[in-house]
Symmetry: C2
Subunit: 462 residues, 2 copies
Amino acid sequence: MSALSPVLDRLDKHLDASLGRLFALLSIPSISTDPAYAAECRKAAEWLVGDLKTIGFDASVRDTPGHPMVVAHHPGPRPDSPHVLFYGHYDVQPVDPVELWETAPFQPVVKEIEPGRKVITGRGSSDDKGQLMLFVEACRAFKAEHGQLPCRVTILFEGEEESGSPSLKPFLDANREELKADVALVCDTDMFDRQTPSICASLRGMVGEEITIKAASRDLHSGMYGGPAANPIRVLSKILADVHDEDGKVTVPGFYDGVEETPSQILKAWETLGTNAENFLGPVGLSHPAGEKGRSVLEMTWARPTAEFNGISGGYTGKGFKTVIAAEASAKVSFRLVHKQDPDKIREAFRQFVRDRLPEDCSVEFHPHGGSPAIQLSYDSPFLAKAKNALSQEWPKPAVTVGSGGSIPVVGDFQTYLGMESLLVGFALADDRIHSPNEKYDLNSFHKGQRSWARILDALSR
Amino acid sequence: MSALSPVLDRLDKHLDASLGRLFALLSIPSISTDPAYAAECRKAAEWLVGDLKTIGFDASVRDTPGHPMVVAHHPGPRPDSPHVLFYGHYDVQPVDPVELWETAPFQPVVKEIEPGRKVITGRGSSDDKGQLMLFVEACRAFKAEHGQLPCRVTILFEGEEESGSPSLKPFLDANREELKADVALVCDTDMFDRQTPSICASLRGMVGEEITIKAASRDLHSGMYGGPAANPIRVLSKILADVHDEDGKVTVPGFYDGVEETPSQILKAWETLGTNAENFLGPVGLSHPAGEKGRSVLEMTWARPTAEFNGISGGYTGKGFKTVIAAEASAKVSFRLVHKQDPDKIREAFRQFVRDRLPEDCSVEFHPHGGSPAIQLSYDSPFLAKAKNALSQEWPKPAVTVGSGGSIPVVGDFQTYLGMESLLVGFALADDRIHSPNEKYDLNSFHKGQRSWARILDALSR
């Protein structure tokens, strides 16, 4: 521990400075899904490159057809030191409805939300700028104290994670040699609770799809045409209503191909974690699980696939009323995948499901928004054991191995293109409101998260 | 015809001047449903009052809790001359999607759309500014030629027809004595075709209702909560999908109470008009009637009730994709009513229908947007016979008695509050694109419509 102690001390002493750096990054509105913010995404990438260079990284902004990547390399103590690839994303979600934010989304502040509990506010504070900076700060402290890092480190930050990562696969494919390492470290997940760090061993995959139903060649007056004219909102509603059966199962043919039943010992271990419908849903104002009947909420989110409708629009949606039959209506639909479900097959099965329900006079257009299979990591990885031990030394309770309901497509892509497993360690909390107004990140996560990565780097170097 | 001929001649000679006046009115963006345009609605009312005063009307802007009414009176040749109340509305529909307009919606022009066929473009050109000005121009010509009008004339222009007419009933109720006449003349309907004028004897009623389904207390990440959390878009889609059965009938309990089967001789008369699914739906890019199975398109629109979804929104609807489970989703729903269907009962039945389908954890908010019963006029009215005869003298083909799929709530309100029947004569055409981008009004309708009202005024004075 002789090498680690001064690093941890330094992180404690320089917390304010690290917070200043995070605020600078959070102030850049790098919303990747909206083309209007493309220049801001580049600005965030350039800021990161500038910061990494101050730590001695060989860092550069790397252009893609979309938003740029940041790639940075730092040697280890020896050419054969363990080599880690750290991944994060500098892009953020849109901020609408902006009127619900209590503080401006791109003007972060630290505020105390309950006695002794301070949080950092702002879009990206938790997902993922706050988390990726933890690792950068751990590296900075090692460099400052020892003049070197304990491992060889490659960093990859992408700017399209929140918009389907269209450039990621081609980039990994084109840079396999440069990016390959012994293990990937990904910091984009939650702690189990405020005392309990976690390492995530399974991640749901995702298929995103936008469908637009079209009928008449123009908007129609619902008095003149109501009755005879096909109404795309009605057609769309009918299709979406068909996607789930009465028991909450998805009815798209073949959807459950590749889904495995979770072993009973795993389900039992999850039961001991104390999560139930009330404490899982209560904080967001809900109480009754709406998913597949007969499954616990942890199984629903960690080990079962879903179909969700993320957006719908059609016709007149302003104030007041307009008696119109719209020419078209659209929905954004996503499927969360588990185990061996095939994203391509599910996308095609859903498209066929929609086509099968199209009435005469209607047409449909499909627009894909990303797809990735689910990930199941091996439970016997030595990296997992070392990281779990390192985390358990930092936090009040020992680290647990969990699943995640979210999708982090890069983990599958690392497996496919670089032949590497990923260690998913994150310090977000369930109440961080990621993707929603008033996103925050606990100051404690920001502080102990830096220390945790220092510990993990140290552990992996041995 | 000695009194009428110079009036008709004058209308021919002064067509350009009348067009200039219409353009002035069309240039005012009096969109009633959007509060941002309240001042423009008042401006349109004031413009009309100013114009009516130049004809010798005792005209005034009359405040309401919403947009103002215009009321104007003109004496007839004798105190016991026939007395007509003419109704129109100066408000217009919103113009979105504005990018689809070929000419600016509030900068009217005359353009030739096929050899010999000129049209006036702009929002309100057909619905209803172009139509209400026909009557004003007919009065102006009578006054100029004869120094008087052939009948006693009261005019009522409202500014809330496109937004549910919230102020109309109270206004009629408070001004019964002032507004009562022998018959109401309403110019807000179509010709049967370009050669054939029509008088409308039945109008569908309407119930407008907005429903908002709410679930979680905030937007959620669909990875973290997808599965357990109730999704309001899914709930809303399911409810809307339930509104129609496989045969296109509305499933809301009690919905068909008061609906009568149309007599077979009427259905036969409609068959002779030559309208079928192809020529009715073809011009808007459709071909298969989507309404109740086994009914003709004319029966569907003139004599059958419907449920239509006029708008839907929820979740992320911008460019790209956002993996969110929305906290709420909304739909604007309207029902077209026929015969003796009761708007209040149908609104309540629909609300109960929605409540019956609400899953646990969800709530619903309702917001009403107007309601009025259907109208069925008496076929043996002397006013109807006189107007039909007058119209037949102006146009290439004799006038026909038809129904209308749209709702003109004022007709029911005139019956209820003033004990008056209405004569519905209009010169709009099916391709006028009312409520849609590129609304237009045929110049021929604007010209011969003025002449038609002059003929009707003359006929009713006898």
